[in-house]
């Protein structure tokens, strides 16, 4: 009954020289995926000789009844648990062509394996048990298939024997599930009532369900159309590396989509530089023109422009989007939740950048499609969210619906892949006319804002002032560590690193103290201008000196944040970490602040911490709470 298209009939489609169609099996746990696979392998004669006998013997030894599902559970451990734990790939063939089965598990804990398997698939068979009907994972898996871009779906309503082969029950499930799939934009081609255990409607039409006269499972598979090659999409050549093995610069990479020919004028993003392809390089291969989607090639360029891994080449009239802020749907599979504000690595094709989740607009319950917009700060494992993401450096992207390979990315935390996302809503601009407003190019002068775009924060001077023993140095070190962990460039200036070098010629006379603070102010300004968050920890007792420090910082366009580290004199004197108060009381030190020199407390500091009442951690938290929003506010919200 299968119609063979003229194209596939050119060669023997059964031949092992043609790529098998990869099919992923998904669905709720215990709905019969493994049984269906075992049945298909058996009925198509695809099992190795002796396999069935081997498993039957093993079952007898364990005192268990033979089941088709056991054929798959090659590892003893899986048989014990009776749950398939990982993806496998098993070949079979029909009268029309070859297939490779990717067995995906239904166990909730193993979503990452299902994604691993399904991401390689051409088509999906989604199994729903007739007695239990549509369940949580039936829906979640479909949602993930839609995100993974798998459009070919066959729904098998299995275990029809348990519902007396009821046509009514079958149509109930079909109706409910078809509606769900349509909301996802998925179009299931076929719903098949089957009993994998007995082979009904798997490789043969069922006599028990005469009311159903469409394709059985194997026929439905044979009717699937192969995936359209990506050669018709815009060219995206993603650079993996640049080799200089024989003195020539060979740009190595894969053509993700489109076609590439020698002589083509290419535009490289994110640099917007162009050059002409001088040659397409392959080793020990006949010259094939053009290079097309899926090809791993090397190219040489006519002009020697700087490009490196991560750059994407395209044609002039079909350039991708360059942005550092975009919207995406993201599924999260790591144990630790995805946290808004936290820094992650983002990989898209061969690009890798630091990114931050700006906001989580929606959380989608993937089993009900209900969306929640309750201003969540994190995304839990197995949840799907709609997010705004910001990257530290420009990223080359496409909308997922236009060029899938450049419209999807993964989020990495601590070296582990934690989630995957698809990009939507990006605006394409004509590169020859205008640049996207979301990119910030470092042409000409590098402004504080360009630096802030790169580092993710602006430069600033955080000026701690307070009595000796108030806790300035301790807080400075702790604050520095926290800012550093937030991915910020930060540095502490204190007596230790200033007095011994830059100011080593200064003493503690009033004049020298003024000069000391003045030099610190200048250094802090320069460092803040260079993009760092400078934390200073000096007593700086005089209002006028601190006002001067503020003016100097503002001259350099740096944010100045005065932090009063406040503790009563008695408390500081009791702490006396360096025995300075004792020495001052004994007259060994003259003009010691608080004893025989004044301390002028700030009138209106940006931040006050009370170290007699707060712990170091609490003080640092108080500072961070007010500091971080200021550091991150550098006009990035256009």
């Amino acid at each position: 009954m299968t119609k063979i298209s003229p194209q596939s009939a050119i060669r023997d489609p059964q031949s092992s020289a043609v790529a098998p169609v990869k099919v992923v099996f998904v669905g709720h746990v215990d709905h019969g995926k493994s049984t269906l696979i075992g049945r298909i392998l058996h009925d198509t004669g695809s099992l190795p000789e002796g396999k069935v006998e081997e498993i039957k013997k093993a079952c007898a030894a364990e005192g268990m009844e033979f089941e088709f599902a056991f054929l798959l559970d090659a590892l003893l451990e899986e048989q014990k648990q009776n749950v398939t734990i990982d993806t496998t790939e098993i070949p079979f063939r029909t009268s029309r062509r070859r297939y490779a089965i990717i067995d995906a598990p239904g166990h909730k804990e193993f979503l990452k394996n299902m994604i691993t398997g399904a991401s390689r698939a051409d088509a999906a068979i989604l199994v729903i048990s007739a007695d239990e009907g549509v369940r949580e994972q039936s829906r979640r898996h479909a949602y993930l298939l839609s995100m993974l871009g798998i459009k070919n779906i066959i729904v098998v309503v299995n275990k029809m024997d348990l519902v007396d082969y009821s046509e009514k029950r079958f149509h109930e499930i079909e109706q409910e599930y078809r509606k769900f799939l349509q909301e996802l934009g998925l179009n299931a081609r076929t719903f098949i009532p089957a009993s994998a255990k007995d082979g009904e409607n798997v490789a043969r039409s069922s006599m028990k369900m005469k009311w159903y006269c469409a394709a059985d499972v194997l026929e439905a598979l044979d009717l699937l159309e192969p995936r359209k090659p990506d050669t018709d999409l815009p060219l995206r050549f993603c650079i993996q590396d640049v080799y200089r093995f024989d003195g020539r610069r060979i740009i190595a990479g894969r053509i993700e989509t489109g076609t590439l020919r020698a002589g083509d004028q290419l535009v490289f993003s994110p640099a917007n530089k162009s050059s002409v392809v001088a040659s397409i390089e392959r080793w020990n291969a006949p010259p094939t023109e053009p290079a097309v989607a899926g090809d791993s090639v090397g190219i040489t360029l006519a002009e020697q422009i700087f490009v490196e891994r991560g750059y994407v080449a395209s044609h002039q009239d079909e350039t991708p989007i360059e942005t550092n802020r975009f919207h995406a749907d993201l599924f999260w599979i790591a144990r630790e939740p995805l946290r808004s504000g936290h820094f992650y690595d983002l990989r898209l094709a061969t690009q890798q950048v630091k990114c931050q989740i700006v906001s989580i607009e929606q959380v989608v319950d993937s089993s009900t499609l209900e969306t929640k917009t309750d201003g969540r700060e994190q995304l839990e494992r197995n949840e799907i969210g709609r997010l705004t993401i910001q990257t530290r450096s420009p990223l080359v992207v496409d909308n997922h619906e236009r060029v899938p390979n450049l419209g999807r990315f993964v989020i990495i935390d601590d070296g582990q892949i934690c989630g995957g996302g698809t990009i939507f809503g990006g605006v394409y601009t004509d590169r020859t006319v205008a640049k996207s407003k979301n990119i910030f190019w470092t042409e000409g002068k590098i402004t504080p804002r360009t630096r802030a775009m790169r580092s993710g924060h602006r430069g600033a001077v955080v000026w701690l002032t307070g009595l000796s023993g108030a806790g300035k140095s301790t807080i400075a070190q702790s604050l520095e560590r926290d800012l550093f962990q937030h991915g910020m460039h930060t540095y502490v200036l204190d007596g230790d690193n200033i007095r011994h070098g830059l100011n080593s010629n200064l003493g503690f006379s009033p004049d020298d103290r003024v000069e000391n603070i003045s030099r610190v102010s200048e250094v802090a300004k320069l460092m803040a201008d260079a993009g760092a968050v400078v934390i200073t920890a000096f007593i700086s007792p005089y209002r006028m000196d601190r006002r001067r420090a503020r003016e100097i910082a503002l001259e350099g366009n740096a944010e100045f944040i005065e932090v009063f580290v406040d503790a009563p004199l008695e408390v500081c004197e009791a702490r006396d970490p360096k025995n300075l108060y004792k020495k001052a009381r004994a007259g060994e030190i003259r003009e010691f602040t608080g004893i025989d020199a004044p301390y002028e407390a700030p009138d209106d500091p940006e931040i006050v911490v009370h170290t007699d009442e707060q712990t170091v951690d609490e003080s640092v938290a108080t500072i961070l709470e007010q500091l971080l929003p200021r550091l991150r506010d550098y006009g990035n919200d256009e």
Partner: protein, 272 residues
Amino acid sequence: MTQTTRTHLDQLENQSIFLFREAYHAFKNIAMPWSMGKDSNVLVWLARKAFLGRVPFPVLHIDTTYEFPEMLEFREWAAKHHNLNLIIKINTEARARGVGYETHDPVTVTHELKTVALQQALAEYRWEALITGIRRDEDPTRAKERYFSPRNAQFEWDYKDQPPEFWSQFVTTAAKGEHVRVQPLLDWTEVDIWRYIERENIPIPKMYFARNGKRFRSLGCSPITHPIESAASTIDEIIAELEATRTTERAGRAQDHYERNAMQKLRAKGFL
């Protein structure tokens, strides 16, 4: 010639080249075990495809001292032919202790002379990644492999908790003492390997072809590797034979069948 369709072999080749290049970029200190078997020689060939004629990292032969003489001849010839930076590693300590097929069971010997030898080489050269030639179709445990498969400091493969792998993104970091196995042939089948050897005319040992009614389908240590009955003396005949047979490829490899789940045990301990 305008040619925009790609054969299955073209697709496999492109994917393997992509994986080689990702691995070479991700890991500074990388090596490729080379057994001189057919898959291993395809791997060398694909490396040269990826790096435009070169193999830019060391190639490691774990010499069990039970090698077929013909294989050793091939080793010498092929290392020159491909201009390989060849490292030969023998577990001399185990051999000195008298570990050998004459006195020990094959699982023990394979573990000592292959896996332990590999561990010794890893400790010596501190490779962060190894490129291996394993295929998903070889064995049920191998079916569960990833393209980039991390091994812990104890050299173990945690097949129950493997990293997700999708959209051509892989685990590309190895902690100190750990390494990542990169497996560019994972999607290939035995028949694909043969078709590719034929298409590319890749040099392989002659022992794969039938002589006097016997040939080797898979090559390992001489005392425990047995030829199969076969008249296949050309690649075409071998492919025809494979397409007709339903016995497994490694049926002639004794260490796999010495006990129940032998292969799984060997692999969890670090066997390739």
